[in-house]
Amino acid sequence: MEKIWEGLTQAAMLIVGFDPDLMEITLLSLRVTITATLIASAIGLPLGAWLVVNRFRFRRVVIAIINALMGLPPVVVGLFVYVLLSRSGPFGVLGLLFTPTAMIIAQVIIITPIIVSISHQAIRELWADYHDLLISLNATRRQRIATLIMDGRRALLTASLAGFGRAIGEVGAIMIVGGNIDHATRVLTTAIALETGKGEFGMALALGFILIGLAIIVNLGVHMLSRTERGSRW
């Protein structure tokens, strides 16, 4: 219990003091995860809608696989991306291993299934309402997907935010492909793992509190910008 107070006071001191190392790892955490969320949303939201409006033979199997992939252990994803990006792997020449780009790739793989799955679920309900209208308007498949994404944007925001939440707190994959290099690929979660390893529980908890605070600020910010969850509106 005492450690938690120590963590809280240390967190406050780090924030008030504008600790430069903290700023660096926090900004990198945000940069990596926001980029990964944007890319994963660009893939996942249309894919979720596409799975709703299309009927094909293995649809159920594809959806089951995507749902199962939500449970993919990050360490496995990390290892997979490592093998691909390693100098001895197929994309080794790109020299991407141990860079923020590698971390973004790993996070995109981890959160895309989540975004697809949640958006698929949300759009399916909307499709039930829109189905007859869009068919009677003779809308093309592309137009149907665009309409569903546009009108379902609030629910889809939840899908993206769920992806963001998983990515910002993820440590297993980015530890392997990022390497937790000081001043290069160290982010909040890998720094927490490092401090825990040193037995510096107070500092580790402090970083944990900052991470939670950051996630709350991002979520609030998104709701404010998109004008959702306001008191005056249902």
């Binding site: 390693s86 100098r87 001895s88 792997g89 080794g92 020299g95 291993l97 141990f98 390497g179 937790n180 290099i181 000081d182 290069a184 490092l194 825990t196 390893g197 040193k198 037995g199 510096e200 529980f201």
Partner: protein, 267 residues
């Protein structure tokens, strides 16, 4: 001698101020990073030879694997057998011994197994096994883990059973586990002194030369991986065996205790 090293230092300082920092990746063991020595050496290396050394802190097994795959430019580890096997596979150019520190056996302050009375490390382990006292093993193929296994072999004790917990984690995480279980554990002295969560643990055994832990520097073979920075690796090696490095390594103390003994020899 002093004059010579002064000139060398000055020359390096001048050279360093002109050279723009080059990035160099080196995989090192957790015990080296946890010791805190890296934080002393890296800024000096950057100042002296203009090399920004980026550390990948992993166990010896993974450190060598990263080198074998060409994902780092050099490796700094402490497990001679594994290093020689690695060199034998053509992964590196050579092995250069830099320094050593020592392992210690940590255990509950009350020492229920009576390891303190032992005269050798193997006797201490025998006492722990005989008492079936809880023992935490790194179990992660690291240099420390390999040392532990070698000691059990020498003690002719089968390290298995309910009392023996292999956690498969780094030094810090394993120490956290030992602190939580109030168990014995083999650790390097540097990690122990820097470890903040000591709980009820204390040093149970130390001082046997069998516990010495040699660190060696191994540049990755440019013939196998053409992209590795062989020139920078050579420059770094030169620095690591220099009088300047000796001074910094031997001057590094925690609680007044010197942690590393420099033992690199000139070529």
């Amino acid at each position: 001698m002093k004059f010579k090293s002064l000139i060398l230092a000055a020359a390096l300082a001048v050279a360093g101020s002109f050279a723009s920092a080059e990035e160099f990746k080196m995989s090192v063991t957790t015990s080296f990073a946890n010791s805190g020595l890296a934080e002393v050496l890296l800024p000096e290396i950057e100042k002296d030879i203009g090399l920004t050394v980026q550390l990948l802190i992993v166990g010896t097994g993974q450190a060598l694997e990263l080198g074998a795959n060409g994902d780092v430019d050099a490796v700094l580890v402490h497990s001679k057998k594994a290093e020689e096997k690695w060199l034998g596979e053509g992964n590196g150019t050579h092995r250069r011994e830099i320094m050593y520190n020592d392992f210690i056996i940590i255990g509950p302050a009350a020492d229920p197994a009576g390891a303190k009375a032992a005269t050798t490390a193997t006797d201490a382990l025998k006492a722990i096994a005989a008492a079936q006292a809880k023992f935490v093993s790194r179990g992660d193929d690291s240099g420390t883990h390999k040392m532990e296994l070698a000691l059990w072999k020498k003690a002719e004790v089968a390290a298995e059973g309910e009392w023996y917990a292999a956690v498969g984690q780094g030094m810090g995480a394993a120490l956290n586990t030992a602190a939580g279980m109030n168990a014995y554990i083999l650790a390097d002295r540097a990690s122990w002194l820097n470890f903040a969560n000591k709980a009820d643990l204390a040093i149970a055994f130390e001082g046997d030369p069998a516990l010495f832990n040699q660190y060696a520097y191994l540049p990755v073979n440019p013939a196998k991986h053409a992209h590795v920075k062989a020139d920078a690796a050579a420059k770094l090696e030169e620095w690591l065996v220099s009088p300047r490095a000796k001074e910094l390594i031997e001057g590094y103390k925690i609680d007044g205790q010197q942690l590393f003994v420099f033992n690199a020899t000139a070529n």
